[in-house]
Amino acid sequence: MLRILYFAWLRDRLGRSGETLPLPQGAHSVQDLIAALRARGGEYAAIFAKPELIRVAVNQSFATIAAPIAAHDEIAFFPPVTGG
């Protein structure tokens, strides 16, 4: 199972901080996963409508949407960071 995490306004919009789901059929990259999530429609389609506003980490390291994913990966979606 993939472990998917949502932070900051993505979590607010979706009303959940994360979920687990099986690797979608034919999904090999973060981009493929985003396509599968967008296909749910509603807030999922809305938050991923502008991928340039979203950052991603695979297994707690920053990644690009082209990064490969595999079953059991932890994939986090969040806005650009604003700490300090």
Partner: protein, 154 residues
């Protein structure tokens, strides 16, 4: 090995206490540079709500701290970042860098803050007196400040 301390916590920190811990047993230190970030008021801001990504945040802070130690030859450093609700005027982040000479400590402190602001997974939500709240947008000048250092591991 440099002495590196990284913490993410809701509680306040004591800069003097952390400085004493950093220096303990290190007679080779000639200076400690310190930066304390404060929740800045204005525009009706009441508080910030700080969120992080447990695990990844600490590992990025550790990478940044270790990179600063290697790059500037630090004897040690301490980075403490608070999370949760922080009212205007409250301390939010502490960076301490200890080195033989002041230049390295001061530069390393700036380096760490520039990287922390742009690369450690923290997010701020602003809470205003009128009840409105909004997630903070990243600032282009923070990204530019980081860019002057090149890569993290240079």
């Amino acid at each position: 090995m440099p002495r590196v301390t990284i913490r993410v916590q809701a509680e306040a920190f004591d800069s003097a206490h952390e400085t004493a811990l950093l220096l303990r047993g290190h007679e080779d230190v000639g200076g400690v540079a310190a930066f304390t970030g404060i929740v800045r008021g204005g525009g009706g801001l009441v508080a910030l709500e700080l969120e992080h990504y447990p695990g990844m945040t600490e590992s990025m802070m550790c990478r940044i701290a270790e990179s600063a130690c290697a790059r500037f030859g630090l004897v040690g450093c301490t980075v403490i970042h608070r999370v949760g609700r922080l009212a205007v005027g409250m301390p939010i982040v502490l960076v301490l860098c200890a080195s033989a000479h002041r230049g390295a400590a001061q530069e390393a402190t700036a380096f760490m803050m520039d990287w922390l602001k742009t690369s450690a997974p923290f997010w701020k939500r602003e809470e205003f007196a009128n009840g409105h709240s909004a997630w903070v947008e990243p600032r282009a000048q923070d990204e530019a400040a980081k860019a002057r250092w090149g890569s993290l591991t240079a």
